[in-house]
Symmetry: C2
Subunit: 191 residues, 2 copies
Amino acid sequence: MSKQIWKGGALLAPVPPVLVSCGSLESPNLITVAWAGTVCTHPPRLSISVRKSRYSYPLIRESGEFVVNLPTQKLLRAVDWCGVKSGRDVDKFKEMHLTAAPASTVGCPILEESPLNLECKVFQVLELGSHDLFLADITAIQVDESLLDAQGKLCLDKAGLLAYAHGSYFSLGSQLGTFGYSVRKKKKPRR
Amino acid sequence: MSKQIWKGGALLAPVPPVLVSCGSLESPNLITVAWAGTVCTHPPRLSISVRKSRYSYPLIRESGEFVVNLPTQKLLRAVDWCGVKSGRDVDKFKEMHLTAAPASTVGCPILEESPLNLECKVFQVLELGSHDLFLADITAIQVDESLLDAQGKLCLDKAGLLAYAHGSYFSLGSQLGTFGYSVRKKKKPRR
């Protein structure tokens, strides 16, 4: 390969362009966040990064609660729109014809139309520059039964999730393998 | 939708299953990390989470340096294998026929076969439970010229990147839109 050296930039990809719900059931808001990631398995924890200037910032900061709603291809327009519009000016749920439903462990709503909702409670906030990092415990998950097989196992590949890379939204393509496939013994053929 | 409520779990998806290089050029190591995310735009910063028990942990902790190498479909087997094998037992670069090349701002190597390498310097480490969170500045990027168009613009969609969701690796599928598409004015047709 022939490489060029560039200055640093936020080019990790793909990242998850999630719809974060916050506020109250009566006055909910949505913000699209692609600077999100899992940070710990046990206890289950994730992070989202939000600019201080965003309408959602004080809603999350003061309540210490938010919900990460995984978006599907059907929600693509809402994902983009909620990333450029402000809750100061519009009721995003109303304008996008979306539904705020009760969460089970936090006071802010989930996005009903998302098939997987991660309810989160903030345990630490770090100021990093343009964005503040909210580190949070995942206190409960709501999962739509359409994503479960007959044995109740989650089939997330059925969801039609979205990925974000360098300013573009992508669908997920083919499933190429499962974790550990490279070291699993192949089953011997029966004789 | 009809939802079930589950206890919390690390189900944010998709996440980037990156190959993290660390150690020295003479004695390099690779570890696959899917618990990774962008955390700040200005300055450009990202995070990776690593278990204390991993061979790479002290290499990163003591040097304060690592490189996030974005994997492509050609690197899928290495991505999986480097996530289950330990650098204590094997030379991962050698076994996977991969090349450690010099970075420009850190002492650890980049993975030459990855078309986009994010060189990182750690500025903070947080103990979160099973994993420690390494927060790092992205100090330089190496990008393969095959990803640049005639104007030198990065076309990351050409890379064939991988995504990880709930234990499976996926290719990226169709490009569905670009950031801001939902509010852009359509060009008027010429008369």
